[in-house]
Amino acid sequence: MKLTTLTAALALAGTTALAAEKTLDIGVSDALTGGAAVYGLPQANAVKMAAEEINAAGGIKVGDDTYMLNVIAYDDKANPTEASNSVRKLIDRDGVKYILGFCCSGATGAVASFIENEDAVMLVGNAAERSITTREIPNLVRTRPPADYTGAAAGTFVAQKGHKKVAVLGALDIGFYASYVDAFEKELEKAGGEIVTRESFGLKDRDMTPQLTKIRELGPDAILVVGYVEPAAFIYRQAVELGIDVPRFGFTSGSEEQFLRVATSEQMEGVWDLRPTELTLLSASDNGIAYHANYSEKYGIAPSPSSPYAYDQTYALKDAIEAAGTVDDTEAVAAALRELPVPDEVVMQYLPVDGKMFDVNGQAYTSNGAFQWQGGNWVFVQDLPSDAAAYSAFLSTID
């Protein structure tokens, strides 16, 4: 009996020694300050929260080892140079192999241009520029669908509402916003409609009354606003102040809290946001409701609608590492990501292509939705036409 106990104790000690608990550093490069922090900071928070949940649930199992995640986050200010420096620091100094975050297209594009040559895997979140996943980069995947995928759906929706003359006001010097409008216009024109003017603004602009005055004189049926939350909120407010009384559609992905810092709920009433079916409490799945509650409790502020893209990255990475059975072989993990079914824990509602979360280009697709501001909240009204398989095939044809 004594011998059996001793043997069991030795065996247990041996197992403990072999199956060590290790730490896996993962990096985040995102806009933690500056104008794009409205998207970047919630993403970084989401990764940290997901990492804590994964650790609390026992970590990532690789063979006999268990890895606890440690997040190292750097502020790239959505600036291409800063992002390149952040990622270089993560890879060269911190020895990180898995880099998440990436809210904004300019900074993301800069990192994507060299990541293929690195022993690392890049998981892109909110950045919506199409070209990020048309370069056939094997060690890059993205959770957010490209802007034109959503823009086409939005154009169809607005045309179906019977609007023929649409005025656009947007951050049109930013590629993915321009591509959203291009795709929107194509679908609108198919239905006999047209864009009567394309007015633009800079990301730091807050006075849009000159552009709105011009739009008012043109007498459009509807307005389409594409841009960051903060300038968009000013547009919605100033449109009301100028007495513009036509339906307002947008592509902004801002939370209620973010809009209410600038405009009143009355000024926002009736505004549409035509975007991927991102998080809103009123349309969320069980995962989404839990995410919203946990995030709000942890950070004392509601999560932005697009922040789960980064949360979902973390769970996709966990599943891919476990499927590949390694943390050191980044090629194997990158390949596993491309074969991955949609993880159970994700918040966004992904549309798998051939049963996989990411298509051959490393691109994931969510459904698109029409959300409307009603009584102080974004309310999910209906799905927008979203053919992920057809768009994936189209994406593969682009060089």
């Binding site: 300050t33 500056g34 104008g35 922090a37 049109l172 010097d173 007015e199 633009s200 603004f201 730091k204 807050r206 006075d207 009354t209 000159p210 552009q211 005055t213 011009k214 008012r216 004189e217 903060e230 000013f234 102040e241 100028l242 007495g243 810092r261 600038v262 009143t264």
Partner: protein
């Protein structure tokens, strides 16, 4: 016609803010010859402080502005005493470097104290007036009126008071002013105090009309210097005319030519004016 009038009204509100920024800059430059780059960041400090007092402490807006003005006044004294006075008699490049350093310092302090988030100063002015098809939001109207009031007060102060006369005397001829018994150690303190208080007013207006965020002050100070050059260096009427011209030109350019190039068009217009009048619109040849 309504569209033109509307654009002019649109431009007057932002033009009023430019005027206040430029008035602060032009008095400092006219008297002391200092390009006070930190003026925009100091303005933002005033806006942030007002926001903080209204939102965090729950003070009424008018009281918060009053406190911010007093703090701005004192801040101006500190800036002159601690930053610029030690280099007053040194080479101009020293004051230039101090100005740049001060800008970074105030920006850093703003970030440290108030964070990186965009903030909007809440007001109760949500009515919109419609006069013959031209709409004027209540808040914009008050901004235009407040700017006009401050310009008038500044003009009366400089033209009609003894201190104002002393300021003009120092600007005109410092040595002669000393001989006439003007205390040239006090004048820079007064100038910086008033300049900073005007900047605080501009910061409050920007914060209520639009938003305050890191980086906004830098843009404002660039526009302020543009107004200075357009109106004529050191000229108070020049700052008024230049600010309004720049604000209205931007609005008209965005409305009638191209919103993508409104800043470029405004600056091209400024260059054209300077080709004809190198001394600025109201500057002395």
């Amino acid at each position: 016609m309504i569209e033109i009038l509307q654009q002019i009204i649109n431009g007057m509100a932002i033009g009023g803010v430019y005027v206040l920024i430029a008035l602060g800059l032009t008095t400092v430059f006219g008297i002391l010859g200092i390009a006070h780059f930190a003026h925009g960041s100091v303005s933002m400090f005033g806006g942030y402080l007002t926001f903080f007092l209204v939102v965090m402490w729950g003070l009424p807006l008018a009281l918060a502005i009053l406190i911010a003005l007093v703090v701005g006044f004192l801040l101006g004294v500190l800036i002159e005493l601690l930053a610029y006075r030690p280099v007053r008699n040194a080479n101009h490049i020293n004051a230039f470097i101090v100005a740049l350093g001060l800008t970074m310092m105030v920006e850093g302090l703003n970030l440290e104290f108030f964070g990186h988030e965009q903030v909007v100063i809440p007001t109760d002015f949500s009515r919109v007036f419609n006069i013959g098809g031209v709409t004027i939001p209540e808040l914009r109207l008050y901004v235009i009126l407040a700017a006009a009031l401050l310009i008038a007060a500044m003009t009366i102060f400089v033209e009609k008071t003894k201190t104002g006369q002393a300021i003009r005397a120092v600007a005109e001829n410092r040595d002669a002013a000393i001989l006439m018994g003007v205390n040239v150690n006090t004048i820079p303190l007064v100038v910086f105090s008033i300049s900073t208080a005007l900047g605080v007013c501009a910061g409050v207006m920007v914060g209520a009309l639009f938003a305050i965020a890191p980086g906004i002050g830098e843009g404002l100070v660039v526009k302020g210097f543009a107004v200075l050059i357009l109106g004529g260096l050191g000229s108070i009427p020049g700052a008024v005319v230049g600010g309004l011209v720049l604000g209205i030109t931007e609005a008209l350019a965005a409305g009638f030519i191209s919103s993508a190039y409104k800043d470029v068009i405004a600056f091209v217009a400024m260059i054209l004016v300077l080709l004809v009048r190198p001394q600025g619109l109201m500057g002395k040849a």
